[in-house]
Structures are given as C-alpha cells and as structure tokens.
Symmetry: C2
Subunit: 577 residues, 2 copies
C-alpha cells in the first residue's frame, strides 16, 4: 500500500466524549468515526485491523471444524417469541416493523435463527456433531453506549453454535471451541485469561469468559498464580476464611451504638476490628401458595469487610426470585429500622443464610434489632441456632484458591469472548430434535460461542499503548511495517531504495505501507506512532551512503542501523518472533 | 475441503414459492434458506460464492484506487432528512426507533453517511480525488419481495462513492469505475453488457447499468450489434423512422369509427395499416402562477404501433411534473370522450408534442375529437400546425441505431451494477465543500457506484444452468473441482490416489472438495451437478488399474480419461482457460 492511495487522517486531540484511552486513540488515529450514539463508521485504518481479526478467527474456526454461513440481520419476531426472548430481552433488543406491520428483531445474536435452520436440516444423529458460525453485524440498544467500540450499539461479532447428540458430545464440542479460542487469542498476540463464568440469563450449565488483561478493564477476574484456577468475580468461589469455628470466649452483650448503622462505624465506636463484625441483609421472596401471595423473610449474614455477590445469592435454593426487603417489611419483621438488624430475636420468623466465613466466626458483633444497639460476643449455637450456610461473598485478594493450590490474586480484564454450554434450553423451546440411534426424537444439545470482533480493537489498545499512541501486535496491526523515506521527491537514491525494499517486502508477503505523502519526518513519525504500526524503516540519504537503513520497533527507544541488503530478511525475522 | 466436514443439503424439489430457475436451483442446491419474506440465510455453499464475488470486487476496486471502509447499518434519520430522502424514499426505507425514541434508517445505500464523513474530513482540493467503498448488508423494504436473491429485502451490496474537485475530474473517476466494473464482470466469467441508463430519482447527469445477459432477465436492453451502442429501454434513443415527411396525397376526411377507441381497432375497421395511425395521449401539468393554480393541457402524439416511454416524456421541457389527464379534464379540453382524441380542433388550447416518427408522417389517421369519429388523411401544415417534436417512444428491434452504425437489437438482461455521475446534488444539500485552488469553498463533485453482490448469484445462475442444475463459472464457483472417489472405504488404492490428488491440487492453489461422504455414485454426481461445481474428477479402481482418472467438465457430455500423473496439471490447464 502507498499512503498516497490510502486515507490517513490523524488528530492532535481526542474529542471530549472519549473517556478511555482506546477510544481516544482510535479517534485520534482516524480508525473510527462517530455517526451516532454507539454507532461508528470503521475508517480504512480501523477496517484493516477488523479484517485481520476476522481472518484469524475464521482460520481457527475452520480448523476446529466450524462451518461458516451468514444469518440475516433482520429476524422475524415469531422466532424470538418461541424462546420467550422477545419479551425477556427488553429495550436492548432493537425492534422494527416492516411496511405490512410485521415485527422483526435486529439481531443482537442468532440462537433462534440457527436453531430454526438446524431443526429443519437435521434429522438424524448421523448428521451430528455440527458447528455453524457467522461473522456479522450486531445491534444492541444499550442504555448508555460509551467507550467507543468497547460498549457500542452496532458492533461486529463472531457467533458460533454447536449441535450435539448428547451432553458428553456437547462438552467435547465445547472443549474444541475453548481450545480454538485459546489459539485465536494467542494468534492476536494479546495477553489474555480464560476464566470460569456464571451462565447468566442465557441459561445452560457451564461457561468461560476470555478476558484481555488490562489495568483499565471493566471486570475483576480472579486467578491463582500457582495453579490454573481462574474465574470471574461473579463465579469465583470463596472458601471460609477459617477452617473451623473458634470457641466462644465473650458473653453476649447488648451495647449502645447510637447512630452507627454501618459495620465500619460500629467497629470504630466499639474499637473492634471490622472483621469481627457481621452485616445483615434483609431479603423478601414473594411466593404464591395455593393461589395466595405469601412473603417470605430471608436474612443474609456477611462479614463486615466483605462484599455481597448477588449472582451467588440468586443460586441459593429458594432465593432465585429474591428482592431486597422494603423498609416497611423490615420494620414488621425485625421491629427495628435498618442499620441495627441482626439474627438474634427477630419479631417474625426469618430464614437465615450465613456466608461460609460468618458460619465459622465466634464472638462476633451484629445488630440487636433495636435502634441504637448492637450485640457483641455473639456466638453460634449458644446465642442463635446454626442456620443455612452458603458462599455469598466476592473473593478478595489473598483468599485461598478453591483448588487448594495457593492464594487468589485479582486483576482487571476486558471480556472479549464467551463460550457457553447451552444444553437443551433453546432446542426444547423451539422443538429442535433429531432421531437418536433408537429412532427416538431427542432435543439437540447446544453450545454457543461468541467473540466481540470490534471490541478486540479496544481491548488490544487498552493493553498496548504509550504516550505516543497505539502499539499493535503485528498480527492485527493495520500494517506490519511502514517505510518512511526522507526526501523521496529530492533524492533518486532514496526513491530507488524505497521502491526496491517495498517490492522485496511485498514479495515476502509482508503487509507494508510506504509513506509517500511527502510529510516532514516529525509529522510522519508521529502519525505512524499514533496509528501504532509495529515496525518502521527509515530510508535516508545519509544512512544509504553508509549502506544502512534505520529500523525501529514501536516499543524500541532507539533506532538500529541495518545494512541495506539485509533489511528484508531482518524484518522477516522480526515478524516471525 | 472435505465434504464430511462441510454442510451439504440438497433437495429433489424446489419449494412452490420459487418462481424462477435461479431461486429454485439455489434452494435445491442448499445455498440459501428462507427466514422470512425476502430474507435469507446464506448457507455454507452459498456463502462461498458470495465470498468469491466479494473478493473479486474488492481486488478490482483496490486496483482502481478505491479505499475500503465500513459504514453503519443503522443510520440517524437527521442525515437522511438533510437530503430529503427521509421523506422521498417512502416505505421502502426501513425505519426504526431506539429506546429513547430517536429515529434511524436501516441503510439501503449510504450516500448520506459517506457525504457526512467526507464533509468533515476533506478540507482542500489537495486531498482529492477520493473514492471510498464498502461491502455491506443492505435492507430495502420491497412491497413484493420475490425471486429469491433477485429481489430480496436484505441483501449485500458493494457501494462506492467518488469525490472530485470538478466535473472533468468526476467524469475521469467515473470512467475508472466503469472500467473497473468491466474488469469485475469479466473476471466473474459472465456474459454482460454495459448500457447507458437514465439517472432516475438519484439525480445527476450520466449513468450506466451493467446487465448480465439472460433470456429470463427483467429488463429489455438495447444494443447495436455492429457498433458499441448500448442503452437500457428507458434511455435508448429512437430516431424518426422516415428521414423526411412525404407529401400529402389524401384529403382530410372525417370518418365514422363507431366503437373503435384503440388504434388497432381503427386500423382494422378502416383497412389501413396500424403504422398509419396516430394515438393521442392527453396530459395535464399543474402549475402555480402568481399564487394561483393553473392547469396546462398537453397532448402527446405517438404512432399507433409504438409504446410510450414515460422517462422520455418526463424529460420534455415543461413536462417534468406531468400526469395523465382525468376524464373530466379531457371532456372539457377536447369535447370528446377518450378514444377519439386528436390534434385537430380541440375546444381549449393544447400544447402538442409529436414523437419524432409522427412528425414525419403524412396522410395519417387520428381522432376527430368527436365520439365515434376519426380523421383519415391528416397532414402537418395543411391540416394542423407543426408543433413540438421529441423522442417519446420505446425503440423496437430493427430501429436505426442512434450512432448511425447499424440497426438496433433487443435482449433481456438482469441489472447487477450501476454507475452514476451524481454531480453536486448531495454535496449541495449536505454542504459538503472543499477549498479550491483559490481558497474558495466549492461543492464536491460526486459519483456513486453499486454492485448487487448477492444478486450476482441469481444472475449468474439465470445465465448458466441446465436440467441437472447450476453451472458456475470457475471464478465464482463454491468449489472449482470436486473429487468423487468410487468406494473410498473399500479400496486402499482409491483412497491413496484421492489423498494424493487432493494434496497436489491444494498445493497448486486449487479450491477442491473431496466427497468423502460415502454416497453411491448416482447420488453423489447428482449433488455436484446440482450445486454446479465446474470440474469433476472420478477416482475408481477400474480406471486406476489402467492408470487413468476420469475428468468431466460440468458442460461436457462425456468423461475423458486422463493419466493419473497428469491430472493435477490437466486441471490447472482447465482452470487457466
């Protein structure tokens, strides 16, 4: 490519609405252009990166037995109604009516359509397993689009769907995709981590997220540096901090704590460590029993310095449909205003669930169900009966790893891929069956697998930038190498060498751009550092007279002189590293 | 590719709603799958063809200096309001509201967005010319989607937009695109014709359509076999059939023609040839003059056997906003009911426009403006004043070519590409200007250039099929070559040779598929003939024992024995033809 035939448009300053570095740098490097809220035109430089990302994904998906097709953007509402997602998805699902008033979804994902394709195509177990994928524009009407391509409304996603005859085979297909994803993110040249994840609303039984590691990442991910345990914060299991409960040593004492409604204030007032306090969270579950609405009171107990993990709460048997109790409900149940609640002496019966750590505490502090009072020296069995125990909290740095092989660390990540074991939730609601070995219809076992193609760009930049701009890994850089001639229009010598090196690199299959725009060196270098091309060669008369060209890697602090004749090989060597 | 790792799903019969052969064959070959009205999933075999079409387009667009970007599908209504197309496009433009009630168009084309991109990026004539393109999903809410990919609602289009400093430069950019389109359609291996076209609603000053020639084509296209004249029916110029007017020989005679309201009936009743009759078409033009609405009466005269060309009528000065006259208007103006109208003796003044051929007629028959009567022997000058003359009719086979180099022929075509000289219509309404050499702002001169990517598939099939199925040109075939082993599972000899030939062809860059599904020969051959792979090699024990493989081209009536060792080279030879 010659820069004079390409379109390069860089900016000194990022627009004020660009809050994060990847958004700022993509705008400044002229990779994207905002059209509307969360909607971007991918400019030529940005599109080149997208195409390279797509090519790597496609190659690895094909190697893993994926079969590419292309499903429509505009999808009939009827299919989405079959699975109930037409209602469930809410305003995130962009809906449109055609001239005849028929309703359609603009696809945010394609489970319904692929299941519809497969239910009409697959008759027998002999046709299985199958894995279909497509790389297609998606739309999700985010409430608050932001961060450029990181949380856009229109974006490109690769979504794959596997179909198997039984769970074991589905898990094997899932493993193949997990491995393919690992290969894909390795080829991108990004530091990433696969973590166990909660399945969330999509249903099913197992799932992993792939995160690009970046200090600016939205998500906290948990891992054990001395084992292969890794999970996202929602899914990371918290073990009890003490293996067993200590014996009670203090008497249960009602203590005045006027105005102290938070554990921190109570601990400070009583001069006790925060980790001896217990906080109470009052929940309500609405149930229908024999046609009548019944309210159940539930109470969660968490150590004062721990954070509640709502995903885990939702998994406690009986708490799937919980909500926080209202102030009126709290007054009726506990006889106290919030801030002083506790498990001892409630007015109405309450089902108590203690976090694993709380269940092993002794001599703890908790609310006394009376405004302005807490108990100190509370102990299980002696002062209150042992109740249900569950993992209710977020892990913290230094917790024991659930696999027993070390302690947990936490880092920040950006979710760029997600693999799910869907099981039969879609195939059952859409009646997608096949005939098994015995000629009996059985629902297809499904998996689904997504990669946020355009999001990769943002994540790669959040992980790889400096004060000059982006630093692309070579595999997904818009160009691998830029040739910067000094005074090409004045020097025949420079011109000849540029053309010769350009031809040699192209012949070697290197993706190279010559900057023939005639800019002065400072502006030219600044452009390419901002755009983030990983390898730069400067061709100048002074060097040429000594038989040299100047090479500088994007992360190098200084240039290296390389003999003219050896440059093409030198570059090939750099690219194969 | 191995068929066992691909997805092949063929049908004996096409669904009943598939009216044309390309739709039937694409459904039967498993290339597309209907999701909704005019909305299709591109199945793996179909997608391979689409990708090949796209790759050829991309390659030639890049060679021609086009710069690829990707514009969004969902485009803010405000941009479409700037050009007035939000209103003008009517229900074909699919509109959608987001969760905040903001309106968007789902792009049917991207003039507005690219003009918006360019107006903010282009400051100076030094940045011009520029040509941006993208290959993207489009949506057009057709009133009656039909014919599979031929007139779908969701489809893929390549649209390019050129920006120039002046008209001469714009015309040069247009010529480059015209040539690139010629190269593209040649590379597809399709018989096509570029024809001059009317610009239609898109505005501007010049345009050509690219048609794939097929007897089932929707459009009539006109060409001169002995010159390079070619135009579509709307644009093809009709010369007068006689070079000069003959002298009057018959007297003007009012003749009873009771019940004969059509030229055919009049000619039959009077025993005169149809080409001596003239038909009258009454038009009305509504105008505002000094704030008052005024109705103008216009009359078109056409020879009895000719068809009116409404596009041409709209181009007659004064007739841009015409409509057909109502019966009440006709009665008031002519004093007669329709069917007996004529240019002689109208009640109100009428502006008469004669088709070029009518202007040179003598002794003709026309209505007498009295129910049940026509004139015979009507002659210009003697019986009625010479009026305006214009080209008003469709050409017919055998008409003189407007370039004077032969006579016109007519064939059927399918429009697959269109190039337009847009001029400044979009840049003026959107205020897309640049600073010229004198530092003065001037509107950008634009061109736009479309290729219907998915439509190419339908058009290629309409041109290339037989009773067995599709016959793809090799350049866009889903696979170039299929290897059909006979009893691969039973014969080690067959298996070894299949693998060896597969490896040799792959190494030679041939897109080859091995049918390792284990079907019996009849079913296997029928599948590949239906899918339309252009080259087939059969590997069987019998042939191998004689040192031969069997080659058969998709259009060949018989197979050819080719020595085993020479097959790879033989195939390469076939593909380079």
């Amino acid at each position: 490519m010659r820069a004079s035939r390409f379109f390069i448009s860089t900016l000194k300053d990022a627009p004020s609405d660009a809050e994060i570095v990847s958004h700022q740098l993509m705008m400044r490097a002229g990779m994207i252009k905002r059209l509307g809220s969360g909607i971007y035109t991918y400019m030529p430089t940005g599109l080149r990166v997208i195409r390279k990302v797509e090519a790597i994904i496609r190659d690895e998906m094909n190697k893993a037995g994926g079969i590419e097709l292309l499903m429509p953007l505009v999808q009939p509402a009827e299919l989405w109604q079959e699975t109930g997602r037409w209602e469930k998805m809410g305003p995130e699902l962009m809906r449109v009516k055609d001239r005849h008033g028929r309703e359609y979804a603009i696809q945010p994902t394609s489970e319904e359509v692929i299941t519809d394709v497969v239910r009409s195509e697959i008759k027998s177990y002999r046709q299985l397993p199958l894995n279909f994928y497509h790389i297609q524009t998606k739309f999700r009407d985010e409430r608050r689009p932001r961060f450029g391509l990181m949380r856009g409304r229109e974006f490109t996603m690769k979504d794959a769907y596997s179909f198997d005859r039984d769970e074991a085979s589905m898990k094997a297909s899932y493993k193949i995709m997990y491995d393919a994803y690992t290969a894909i993110f390795n080829r991108f040249g990004l530091t990433f981590r696969a973590v166990a994840a909660d399945n969330g609303a999509i249903g099913g039984s197992g799932s992993h997220e792939f995160h690009v590691i970046a200090s600016t990442g939205e998500d906290a991910i948990v891992y054990c540096p001395t084992s292969d345990y890794a999970a996202n914060m929602e899914a990371a299991e918290a073990l009890p901090l003490a293996a067993a409960r200590a014996a009670a040593t203090a008497p249960l004492t009602k203590t005045a704590t006027p105005g102290a409604t938070k554990c921190e204030a109570v601990a400070e007032m009583l001069k006790l460590p925060l980790n001896q306090t217990v906080k109470t969270i009052a929940l309500t579950v609405e149930k229908e029993v024999a046609g009548k609405q019944v309210l159940e009171n539930w109470m969660l107990l968490l150590r004062g310095d721990h954070d509640l993990n709502e995903i885990k709460v939702g998994k406690v048997p009986g708490l799937a449909g919980h909500r926080f109790a209202t102030e009126a409900e709290i007054l009726a149940c506990y006889g106290s205003i919030p801030g002083y609640l506790g498990p001892i002496g409630t007015k109405q019966p309450v089902t108590i669930v203690a976090d694993r750590t709380v269940a092993n505490m002794a001599d703890f502090v908790c609310g006394a169900n009376e405004e302005g009072f807490h108990y100190t020296g509370a102990n299980w069995v002696r002062d209150l009966p042992e109740g249900l125990v569950a993992d209710l909290r977020n892990v913290v740095e230094g917790d024991a790893s659930p696999d027993g092989k070390g302690v947990l660390a936490i880092e920040r990540g950006i979710e760029v891929g997600h693999v799910f074991q869907l099981g039969t939730s879609y195939s059952e609601s859409m009646k997608a069956t096949f005939l098994d070995e015995n000629g009996k219809p059985a629902p297809l076992q499904m998996g689904c697998y997504g990669i946020g193609v355009t999001r990769i760009l943002g994540a790669a930049i959040e992980q790889n930038f400096d004060d000059k701009g982006i630093i692309w890994p070579a595999a997904i850089a818009p160009f691998e190498v830029v040739l910067c001639p000094m005074g090409m229009d004045r020097s025949e010598m420079v011109k000849t060498e540029v053309e010769s090196l350009y031809a040699a690199l192209q012949a070697a299959g290197v993706d190279v751009i010559v900057d023939d725009r005639g800019l002065r060196p400072g502006a030219m270098f600044a452009d390419w550092e901002l755009i983030g091309v990983p390898h730069r060669v400067v061709i100048g008369e002074r060097g040429l007279k000594e038989g040299n060209l100047e090479y500088q890697g994007r992360r190098d602090l200084e240039a290296t002189a390389v003999p003219v004749a050896g440059m093409a090989l030198f570059i090939k060597g750099k690219l194969s590293q």
